[in-house]
């Protein structure tokens, strides 16, 4: 599991995840992801287009990060999930508790609205 982080206009955080967001992947990237996204006082978009697999420990990381941002009055939007990953997000009802967009442009539009 790899991650790159950049700052987009807004300003907002953009984290791009790459690889398997399973228990090992969440363990590998968790501290950096939390520091880069949850610890910031700004909205964030999370690019899942490079994520080939997600399981419960990955979902926990996304939920805890979104919750931390929410407590500070900020939002986190997921985008780019492939069909299988999107299916897991929906099975776990993540799409009911945080915005899930198809593309980066849609994710940015959610935050701009």
């Amino acid at each position: 599991m790899d991650m790159t982080v950049s700052e987009l206009d807004g300003p907002l955080t953009c984290a791009r995840l790459q690889g398997r967001l399973d228990a090992a992947g969440a363990d590998r990237v968790g501290v950096r992801f939390t520091a880069a996204v949850a610890a910031q006082a700004r909205d964030a978009v999370i690019d899942l287009s490079g994520v080939s697999f997600v399981a419960s420990m990955g979902l926990r990381l996304l939920i805890s990060t979104a919750r931390s941002l929410s407590l500070k009055g900020h939002r986190m939007v997921l985008f780019g999930a492939n069909g299988d990953v999107q299916g897991v997000l929906e099975d776990a009802a993540l799409d009911q508790i945080m915005p899930v967009a198809s593309t980066e442009a849609e994710a940015l539009a959610v935050l701009a609205a």
Binding site: D27, A55, S56, L59, S64, D91, A92
Partner: protein
């Protein structure tokens, strides 16, 4: 009624140590075992999901006293399904008796626990649990597409 494993020889039989690194090595061995069977990508995803969630559950909860333990995993192919059987000597735990996780409506409602079991139930066509001779046997059928 006790569940009987399929008669056919398993595609794979492994003793998986209760350590995090074993989850990934097991996934790779399972991939080798199913290579060339023509299984759909969706079925393989569900297989990986059940494998990950069940082995992680065992890793976190089955052996509270620690020590060296393993989960005996067997993988079977029958005409209608892939069948995973997990057998371990951990504390008794019937995952089918755990209350279903309610879908959260807000971030604050999202419970940290229960996601793995919920995903396993959604991925499986059927699950069975038995406690036999002091061992847990959890069997998961994944319907072939």
């Amino acid at each position: 009624m006790p569940y009987s494993l399929p008669d056919a020889a398993p595609l794979l039989r492994l003793a998986v140590p209760n350590e995090l690194a074993a989850v990934e090595s097991t996934r790779l061995q399972v991939h080798d075992a199913i290579a060339g069977l023509g299984l759909s990508a969706r079925l393989i995803y569900r297989l990986e999901l059940v494998l990950e969630e069940t082995l992680m559950n065992r890793l976190w909860h089955a052996f509270p006293d620690g020590g060296r333990h393993s989960t005996d995993l067997s993988l079977h192919l029958v005409p209608e399904a892939l069948v995973l059987c997990f057998d371990d000597d951990g504390i008794a735990f019937d995952p089918l008796q755990a209350p279903p996780t309610a879908s959260p409506r807000t971030l604050s409602e999202a419970a940290p626990g229960g996601l793995g079991l919920m995903l396993t139930r959604k991925a499986a066509s059927t699950c069975t649990y038995e406690r036999v001779a002091g061992r847990n046997r959890f069997t998961v059928h994944l319907a072939r597409d």
